[in-house]
Symmetry: C2
Subunit: 766 residues, 2 copies
């Protein structure tokens, strides 16, 4: 029973015991074998190939370079490639670190780098050109394997085979040493992603006994005040070790009675690195378990002991694989293996973030750096909400109601802990990194309410949403509340900000209606019209205004910078009225004009100067002036639906699905943005998409595959068929839900949850 | 009933409620009025004049300068004067900070400096010469008042009257503003004692609401990894504020949407300072309560709300005064007011450290930086054990059995949390600063056992003592265990270290005997003879040996440096066999020779070159070659007792008591060393002294006053009389305890506890 499985999983999450049941699936097949973690690891996808379990706190993965975020002369643009620590074509591996962001466009983390070596102890990483000058190594690309929950590679410097797997909170390493020289493990507490000199404000290491090491580090990065603890257990006793602090130690004098650099079991400072040699006992294999905690080293140790009571690498690897199998086996598609690799990897990528952020006993570090115990929910972090409110969260709302409830509770807890008392903008390991704009926790919660997710208090949720939407000091909000738009003086992205506030406000009004708070509903319904205040009838674009109410000049509809937009230009952002496409079409002079406008968007040539300096937009992510690699346009392909041209939607969506997602390392056309790009793919390939999260509706497109079986969390089965689908028959003639024709382009959440048969009759007729 | 009072106090400590009972005292008089916190604030006493309660975690006191511990060129010797943050003759006050060490010879702390100002906001302290360039101020010396639990001064820059008082965990400030310009409070999170650029590795500040501010800082100082949290509540609402970070903020870009420097409620970094202006509501008085915690800001807030539910300055001040009165009223002396000021201030100084180190709910940060809950005891920190095992702890063992039990439990917890599993050397706010030598937690615990203190497990205690005494990596201990002495190659203080280990070992043997562990007793009794291994019969001095067993050369019996001693020379350290003076006398060729040797020590002229470069030794602390300002000799005046010349002991002790302790700011002849110098004074002035802590015996001297009443913790009264005492009658003819003559120079702990009448018949006959 699916329901039982969910409850057991929940139980397991709380007890921290990882047992996996043979899950109820649609058929006995194994879809996890199609997962290809290398997709997106080349160039712009910003994905990592390492090992993790769904929503796992640990993302154990190889890092292939150490480009600093900034040097003396400021931001270093080369660092951008290393948002996930890994570039597919890099020749060397620096080591294996335990935390990674999936698909972000800025970065952090990379905690507690482990590297196995043989022979001479070197504590610096060396360089890609000269790996021999440090602990890093070239690797044999042909040996590199990445699967669901498993990664393996042979490091050629010493011919050491490295294997990685993970539980929710524990990274598990197995190293096979040729034993030609003395094997050793390097632990580099300074290494990090988007590192810079001084990023580690403090760190500490303790050798607790002959096989256990604990410690923590505190970093000042994208998360400005971040603390992460670990406990590390080796499968063999330590024979010799050393902890080095490469920093000046003002007060080391009092340790004068010991030689600190060797066999001294405790050290703290800003540049701590350590090496360990082992009593190998005539066995060339060493297993490491490294558990994380945001609370304490004791918490990490508890996580380690609970989730990996024994260093049984094979068993843990199997558990990790099964955890993924249970997830991806909820959907079957009739498709080629290559298509399956793309599809199931998209599913995999949609289940990485948000990440579990609490110890097995429920304790976690709150936004105010205080320790909390999650009361009746699992706490999560890594909410990249500007990206993920669009499709990733609606996807989880549909398929993971318990996790969605937990995520809402996590965001409400965040707001309670916030000094501003507002919901997260970008929740990041007990910090808000304030990245991007809007208050998009609001549509995520409104969506959960609209779709009747249980497990959180709707009334509390609404009042917290209202607080976020009325916190005057936040980006231009005071002006917005007074004058109905954000002025360019208050925000360089004022047009985008105004449009997104208006949409967010609409979702508040919907949520308020749901629970009968009509005064709030009215107030925010009114605010939701504020997009009208930035519409310029003369240019037919939504434009930035100065506080005096005049549009800013000069104006270039193709430019993003200095025009009041962010990650989009006038063409893209002017279409951001997901809550009222009908009105938008009216502003554009009716359906025909609007469709022409959309046609222009998708076919016009965008001169290179508008994107060549923009990090995010690979040429492959461009379709005319539509940029799939950035999020503001993700709903646009579906807008033809509202202007009487659903077949244009079907065609454009299919073109994006088939040309911008591939089973290759460079198979993503932009950053996966914590799974948003992947979630867009999953929804669209199933044949429906949430154009306006916060309402219980999806827009119909067309399925990418002939037959899809979707096992719903209520244990209903929805079978989706695309009858007569072929390379030519890509248009939808008719849609039948359980035999009843759907006349418009809409399907409701409840209709999907009811399951049954959703049939698309495909045709070549445009 | 005294017993009841103790129990209630205990209860109150656990609940954190500070209610003060009119304590049972000997008579109705108020001895607290004699307490003069200025004693020792000039030059070398390293005391502070601010407000605190007995054993309080908060020591709220003015800091009069900001000399850095080190600058580019290393250690700055001028900083030494500012170990307690204050020098009596300094012309300016920088502000009032919440933590101070009492009488140490190295330093730290000075957390969360508060300064009241009027007018222009300046966030730098300015200089002593140019206070107008910063927030610091000159002050009117004639207005400066320091009493038990209270400090007050008028800051002349703006004519602001400042008043300070405290509870155990809360510093309470009251400022009276002339209101000529806008009043403001400066909060400087960078300020500190023994500060240096970079000492604050991280800090954070949050304005929680219109009157509450929380935050923390983490410092890398004498305590290398120290975290201290606070909660601050103002009695009036904040009108305007600003939080400034003077440091480069690599990641401040994401806050671009706000002006961070004003009205932004949260900031973290390395150089955080803040200012607050208030809605004064036509009242010129502002009260601040600032609570500390080692655990969290929430812990601090709980401490604040529990200990100071209201900002009633007068009541809190009265409570603080009464807490001191309850302590000092346990002893009455017949003496002049001037003598009483010296005596009761010594009592006051003996009750500052160790300091309570846990929140009202029992939580505290352990040595491993993890959070613990004290189970059945009150946790303490600040154990300067090399100093305090001699007299301060024996004094507490006699007068504060409950606190002594708590302190032992605190040290046992420290050992459990230690990566080395050893007892503290110098326990310092969740750190061991490893200052000085020996393992002198051992004699403190042995002393508590010998004196039958209840409340800790003797067997656990013994095994922890043994662990500390057998931890091979500790200063030369491996060599000591093998060869019976520490070699100079392993420790620059090898002679001192060997002698102190031997004594500590003796106390282990005594403790083991007590609980019938005869094998341990035998082993450590043997080790206690190791002092013999460094005795050089040719020079009659205890001397440093090389690992080959030869004494080091050259040898200068008057020198400390490079001779294998620390804070003492061959003359002093060679007499450090407190556990076997008889054998020592034998080594010196019998009583007569030994007495001649002691006479030489106390009368010889020590050439200035031997002490002029030594920070600690003010000329006034010298008596011949005996240095009272340093601890290794503190038992020496009592050694005449063992060589048949008790009258010499009586004369020398009296001379020290009357010439080296005065009721003046420069009234201490050396650092008070967390109360050790004061405890020496108290014991000696009562007429007995613990020459060998770890045994239940005291050596008799002679009382300094004609009549003393000592209320013991068991509620017995010991009356001590010095019949016929006069400036000439300073020798003891006969001692009677409850009418029975004491024939030797010894009185036991039990005899004292039994109370009654201890009569000294004084005479002028030598």
């Amino acid at each position: 029973m699916k329901t039982i499985k969910i409850e057991i999983n929940l139980l397991l999450r709380f007890t921290g015991i990882l047992l996996f049941f043979s899950s109820l699936t649609i058929s006995a097949q194994d879809n996890a074998k199609y997962i290809n973690p290398f997709i997106g690891t080349d160039h712009m996808g910003h994905t990592f190939p390492g090992a993790l379990v769904p929503f796992g706190m640990v993302q154990l993965s190889p890092d292939t370079d150490t480009i600093p975020y900034s040097s003396g002369s400021g931001y270093n643009p080369d660092v951008y490639k290393y948002c996930a620590g890994y570039q597919y074509n890099d020749p060397t591996i620096v080591g294996f670190s335990h935390t990674h962001l999936h698909g972000t466009g800025h970065s952090d983390l990379g905690d507690f780098l482990i590297m196995p070596i043989e022979g001479k102890i070197m504590l610096n990483p060396g360089t890609a050109d000269h790996p021999e000058k440090g602990y890093r190594s070239k690797y044999d690309k042909s040996t590199e394997i990445a699967k669901a929950g498993y990664y393996s590679v042979v490091l050629t410097k010493n011919n050491i085979k490295a294997e990685l797997t993970a539980t929710q909170r524990v990274g598990v390493h197995r190293y096979h040493f040729p034993m030609k020289e003395t094997p050793a493990i390097i632990l580099d507490m300074v290494h990090g992603i988007y590192n810079y000199d001084g990023k580690v404000v403090w760190s500490s290491l303790r050798v607790e006994n002959d096989s256990t090491v604990t410690g923590y580090r505190q970093t000042n990065g994208w998360a400005r005040d971040r603390k992460v603890y670990f406990a590390l257990v080796f499968s063999k006793p330590i024979k010799q070790y050393g902890i080095i602090n490469a920093d000046k130690e003002t007060y080391n004098g009092f340790w004068r009675r010991w030689k600190m650099d060797k066999e001294f079991p405790e050290r703290s400072g800003k540049k701590i690195k350590a090496w360990f040699q082992f009593n190998m006992q005539n066995d060339s294999t060493l297993t490491l378990r490294l558990a994380l905690s945001s609370v304490s080293a004791q918490g990490a140790l508890k996580n380690l002991r609970t989730e990996t009571p024994k260093p049984n690498f094979e068993k843990i690897k199997e558990q990790a694989y099964n955890a993924w199998k249970n997830e991806v086996n909820t959907i079957n598609i009739e498709a080629s293996d290559e298509e399956k690799r793309v599809f199931y990897t998209a599913m995999y990528h949609s289940l990485i973030h948000p990440s579990i952020y609490m110890d097995v006993d429920g304790q976690y570090r709150g936004l105010d750096q205080e320790i909390y115990k999650a009361d009746g929910f699992t706490n999560y972090t890594i909410f990249s909400l500007w990206d993920t409110f669009r499709a990733l969260h609606p996807w989880l709302t549909l398929t993971h109601p318990q996790e969605t409830s937990d995520m809402v509770n996590s965001m409400l807890a965040h707001a309670n802990q916030s000094v501003h008392k507002i919901l997260p903008i970008w929740s990041h390991w007990s910090n808000d990194n304030w990245c991007m704009i809007g208050y998009h926790a609001v549509p995520v919660i409104a969506d959960a309410m609209a779709k009747q997710i249980k497990g959180f208090n709707y009334s509390d949720a609404l009042s917290t949403m209202v607080k976020s939407a009325t916190y005057a000091p936040y980006e231009g909000l005071e002006h917005y509340m007074k004058y109905g738009f954000v002025a360019q003086e208050q925000s360089g992205s004022s047009a985008s900000v105004t449009l997104e506030y208006a949409y967010d406000d609409y979702t508040i009004s919907q949520a308020a209606l749901l629970i009968g708070k009509n005064d709030i509903a009215d107030k925010f319904a009114k605010r939701s019209l504020n997009y009208l205040n930035v519409f310029d009838p003369s240019t037919k674009f939504m434009r930035a205004k100065k506080s005096n109410g005049h549009f800013t000049k000069p104006f270039d509809a193709l430019a993003t910078h200095d025009m009041g937009y962010i990650e989009g230009n006038a063409w893209t952002y002017s279409l951001f009225v997901p809550h009222n496409p009908k009105k938008l079409i009216e502003l554009y002079g009716g359906e025909k004009n609007f469709c022409n406008h959309l046609d222009s968007l998708f076919t016009m040539e965008l001169p290179a100067k508008y994107y060549e300096k923009t990090e995010d937009i690979a040429a492959v992510g461009l379709m005319g002036n539509y940029v799939h690699g950035n999020e503001p346009g993700h709903h646009i392909p579906y807008l033809y639906n509202y202007a009487g041209k659903p077949k244009a939607t079907q065609a454009i969506v299919r073109k994006i699905l088939t040309t911008m997602y591939h089973n290759t390392p460079s198979g993503l056309c932009g950053n996966d943005d914590c799974g948003q790009m992947s979630a867009w793919f999953i929804f669209s390939s199933l044949g429906f998409y949430p154009v306006c999260p916060g309402t219980p509706n999806y827009d119909l497109g067309a399925p990418l595959y002939r037959k899809i079986e979707l096992l719903l969390p209520n244990n209903n089965l929805l079978t989706i068929k695309a009858n007569k689908l072929s390379s030519k028959n890509i248009y939808v003639k008719k849609v039948l839900l359980n035999g009843q024709e759907i006349k418009d382009h809409n399907i409701t959440h409840q209709q999907i949850l009811n399951g049954g048969l959703l049939e698309f009759e495909m045709t070549s007729e445009q």
